[in-house]
Amino acid sequence: MSGPPTRNLPVSTAETAEYWAGCRRHELLIQRCASCGKHQFYPRMLCTVCSARTLQWVRASGRGTVRSFTIVRRAVSEAYAADVPYVVALIRLTEGPTMMSNVVGCRAEEVSMGMPVEVVFEDWPGVDVTVPKFQRSR
């Protein structure tokens, strides 16, 4: 089969379906433990701090800071080649957990360590996938 090269598509599981459904609604959902109050990401069946199985989905603020980043100059595959140079970053959410994402909406060279960012959602056409990304906080 030929056609446009495909990106690395996230395939949701029973455990993560709620998260990806939230993304499609442009809501960033993370888990919060009803017992100890800690937030966690990625989704799991137990709280990694207190081991309770009383996790609830909560809508994250969508705000955070850049914990580290790189500017990718050689794409991982053909599907990402048109995006070069692009920023892959670790975002520390205000609620505590870290997640990987891309920083978008500015020149790659403008991204800096500790930069405040906020979530934006990117709908991937034709595959019913929406991916959370981050841009400089306004």
């Binding site: 598509l9 990625y42 980043f69 500017i71 990718v72 990987m100 994402s101 891309n102 360590m113």
Partner: protein, 391 residues
Amino acid sequence: MPGTLRGRAAIVGAADTQVGVVPGVSATQLCVEAILRALADAGIDKSAVDGLVTCNSMAEPYLYHAEAMAEYLQIFPSYCVSVGAGGGTTFTALHQAASAIASGICHTVVIAMADSLRSGLSRERALAVQSSTGHPQFEAPYGAPVPGYYALIARAHMHEFGTTPEQLAAVAVSTRQHAARNPAAQMRTPITIEDVLNSRLIADPLHLLDCSLVSDGGAAVVVTSAERAADFPHRPVYLRGVGEGHGHEHISQARSLTSSAAADSGRRAYEMAGVGPRDIDFAQLYDCFTPVVLIELEDLGFCAKGEGGPFVASGCTGPGGSLPVNTHGGLLSHCHPGNPGSMFALTEAVLQLRGQAGERQLLKAELGLVHAQGGIMSSHSTVILGRERDS
């Protein structure tokens, strides 16, 4: 219980295949070639092998890799296992082999690893392998190539400790100086700091020459009990300490970007051996990317946290330095066929401790440390080897 394996096992055979670009030889052939050479070095027949430990090959994978190699050789071991901990697989395998010997499961274990990443993978397969790195839902969609994950670590180290691109480059330069003395190394032409900084950026701040090679090759060692080790032709190299540390699988879940579970594996190995970093004559460290060496030097206690950059820039890890690192040329310059990568650090350590390293033989090689890590600073294993069974 620390001390359990100290002085209990020894390496009595060690060998590499040809490495670098080795077309026309399959990954399976490289693995079997390594085994046959290691058996010859140990002076034993395949029928003496009752334990076999391998890792899977990307170019030619098997559902049960060690069993497939045993079948190929027509050997019928009582202990047979494939280990999968990325680059850390090598010394996790040695840990398991020594444990199997100490507990009496088997007596003579071959550890063999090989792959054909350079010649045995199509471009499509190679891209697919790279693309599948990272958590499939929470990392891979964002398109980081493997160097990109390590660039996150490099950037954090630079930000936290003021490490410079020149200091990262010094790792590659020092390693190449060692490789220039090793006829088997894939890349031997000397390079300068400027060469590294002028090579193209792959993922800021990492340049092409901050990244390890893509190679074909294999290596194997023969391990037996310390009691039986005297019956082999070469001077035994004794396992004095071994330890593991496992921090995470995915870099976005790392508790720290600038410290690693090498601190755990190193502490456990030192405790077992009853020695410290100052007792070590040389170190073979995992150098898939230059920043990894800085963090390992720090976490293994060779310099203070954050001082890895100045430590390497001072020249002390190069030939003639106070702590020669990667005397064979490492993954950056000798060869890097993927998961088997650290096997060459192990066989080099054996040669140095036997006094058989030729032009690059160190003047003092009584106690050596080898360290491997797999994933993205995920699983760590440290081994301390000595010329003597105990000190």
